[in-house]
């Protein structure tokens, strides 16, 4: 979201102890870092990786919900879903632009996604077999994403923080849309209720996995906290999400698929919170490493869109060149 003329201006900064100390001091003073400011290369790399993954997640995230646009049961739902999936595309776009300020092109990032080198959120490697999945995604997946994203609005890197402000503003309707949809199903026929409960059963645990490994196993967490790229740890955010979501499920009479879930009045420094069962980390790593039910299909769909669109992108560039040539020729002719 900054201008390309500035990109990579300080990529060769000498990282003396004084420089690193002053950089950390700026962060500690809550100063925002802008793209053309000198920054440690590890800071730059961490952001490129994180913003890139975030952007890819938005783009791949269009697919599971996009699967139901043509089958939405009412015109009202259809319009809402289409607008929501469109928003995800916009969010990917804002985020790619934020990463581009750090000297990586969208084309490069796209190729890293398509080659499997770059990761995206594992949650999108689960399928959406029923309409209730659209409700579950909006309510749980967007709910979890919002938990993650709200603190990112205060991230130390200016362009990322600004992109997240816009994303969060737009995303506020997404979760409401999903919850309203689930509520309608939960209040509907036994068949609809069952559909809603089934979707909740399938999405609950993967939603908890969205916050990433436990703090004790998270490799990037400490440094990101220090740099104020992250403001809360994975486990803190996960707990907040559980505490916010469980009452929402109860309110519409759905049951979390976790027999160990129970209120613990001592949690959260005596404010209370929910204890919950242990997450199946084998499943998490399996999906991260490409073994989820939809990993192959998701990448294939992205690759097809990119490959099928190549001739369009080439034509646009060729036409732009022709226009420049013609403008040049008519200028010469006039002289």
């Amino acid at each position: 979201m900054y201008s390309q003329g500035l990109i990579g201006a300080e990529d060769n900064v000498e990282e003396t102890p004084e420089f690193l100390e002053e950089f950390q001091a700026r962060i500690d003073r809550e100063e925002k870092i802008e793209p053309n400011d000198p920054m440690p290369s590890a800071y730059r790399k961490t952001l490129i990786r994180q913003i890139g993954q975030h952007a890819h997640s938005e783009i791949v995230g269009m697919l599971p919900e996009g699967n139901w646009i043509t089958r939405a049961p009412t015109l009202r739902r259809k319009a809402a879903l289409l607008a929501k999936v469109q928003d995800e595309g916009g969010h990917g776009l804002y985020l790619y632009a934020a990463a581009e300020t750090l000297g990586v092109s969208r084309e490069q990032m796209t190729e890293e996604l398509l080659s499997g080198k770059a990761k995206y959120s594992s949650i999108f490697n689960y399928p959406t077999p029923t309409w209730a999945d659209i409700g579950a995604i909006g309510w749980l997946v967007d709910g979890a994403a919002i938990m993650n994203q709200v603190p990112l609005c205060r991230c130390s890197f200016g362009p990322y923080a600004r992109a997240m402000v816009r994303v969060c503003k737009e995303e506020s309707f997404h979760q409401r849309q999903g919850y309203e949809l689930m509520m309608t199903l939960a209040e509907g026929s036994p068949e609809q209720r069952e559909m809603a409960q089934d979707a909740l059963n399938r999405w609950w645990w993967p939603s908890l996995m969205m916050f990433g490994p436990h703090d004790s196993d998270s490799t990037n967490s400490d440094q990101s906290m220090k740099w104020k790229i992250k403001r809360f740890t994975n486990d803190e955010l996960r707990q907040k999400f559980v505490d916010a979501t469980v009452p929402q499920a109860e309110r519409i009479g759905l049951t979390m698929p976790d027999p160990e879930l129970k209120w613990n009045a001592d949690k959260n420094d005596g404010e209370g919170g929910y204890d919950f069962g242990s997450i199946d980390w084998d499943e998490f790593w399996r999906v991260v490493k490409g073994g989820g039910p939809m990993n192959v299909d998701r990448l294939a769909a992205r690759k097809k869109a990119w490959d099928d669109g190549a001739w369009v992108r080439e034509a646009a560039l060729a036409h732009a060149q022709k226009r420049r040539d013609r403008a040049e020729a008519s200028k010469v002719a006039a002289e």
Binding site: I69, P73, L75, K304, D308, W311, H319
Partner: protein, 252 residues
């Protein structure tokens, strides 16, 4: 004299055009040639679906039958949908999709302009809003047709193929059914014959910049206004209607 049924049925046919074309456009969401277009195509689809909803809802009021927009959109048999054949054609490549949208928008723009002086105040209101939306579709799709027609060798070839494939379907846009004729006579809806020159002007202006020729139509393809559809239409309906058919009578 136009009856309420004439008026409602003509609006339903127009709504069907919008719904089915919106359905086709929405299929691109998440699969467009570039991210920017992943936002533009749903914008156009949302315009079309919004217009379909207005038209269906108003037709329901005119009918006084207690049907809802969703009953009309999801619970009719294939013969009861009266959209023109062009809008149900499969998306094909980006050239086909963009050209089809241009053909339709170039028709709807003078339609909504004329409809602003309808004797029916509700239609006047819809027309004022829809005219602005559809003007943007012409601009957006027209710019793409020019870029593809005057881009690379491959894009020019694809654009020409799209014209050959779709042009025979454009005649049906101007078909006047007896119900529509009654609405014209009552001053409710535009006379489609008077829209032809504006449509041709829009298309030929854009085609000139795109180095495209307007082909002679040897065999116009039509039948949709009479409920006779192409083979692809049943597949489209099986997706569109899936939920309402699989789980009848429920609230969503």
């Amino acid at each position: 004299m136009a009856t309420n049924a004439d008026f409602a049925n003509t609006l339903i046919a127009l709504a069907d055009d919008h719904l089915i074309l919106g359905h086709r456009l929405s299929q691109w969401c998440g699969h467009a040639p570039m991210l920017e277009e992943d936002l533009s195509m749903p914008n156009m689809a949302l315009d079309l679906i919004g217009q379909a909803r207005n038209l269906y809802s108003y037709a329901c009021i005119l009918e006084g039958s207690g049907r809802s927009e969703d009953d009309l959109a999801f619970l009719r048999s294939d013969r009861e949908y009266k959209n023109c054949l062009m809008v149900e054609r499969p998306n094909g490549d980006f050239a086909h999709t963009i050209l089809r949208e241009l053909y339709f928008a170039a028709f709807m723009h003078p339609y909504w302009e004329a409809a602003q002086s309808s004797a029916d105040k509700t239609i006047c209101g819809y027309a004022q809003k829809a005219e602005k939306e559809i003007a943007y579709h012409i601009r957006h799709c027209g710019e793409w047709v020019i870029r593809l027609g005057d881009g690379t060798k491959e894009s020019a070839e694809r654009m020409r193929k799209a014209v050959t494939a779709l042009h025979p379907y454009t005649e049906e846009l101007f078909t006047i059914t007896p119900a529509h004729q009654a609405c014209i006579d009552a001053g409710l809806l535009p006379d489609l014959a008077t829209l032809k020159s504006a449509w041709s002007m829009t298309i030929s202006t854009i085609f000139k910049d795109a180095f495209l020729e307007i082909p002679e139509i040897a065999f116009p393809q039509e039948g949709g206004r009479d409920g006779r559809h192409t083979e692809d239409f049943g597949h489209l309906l099986s997706e569109l209607q899936f939920m309402q058919r699989a789980y009848p009578g429920q609230k969503w």
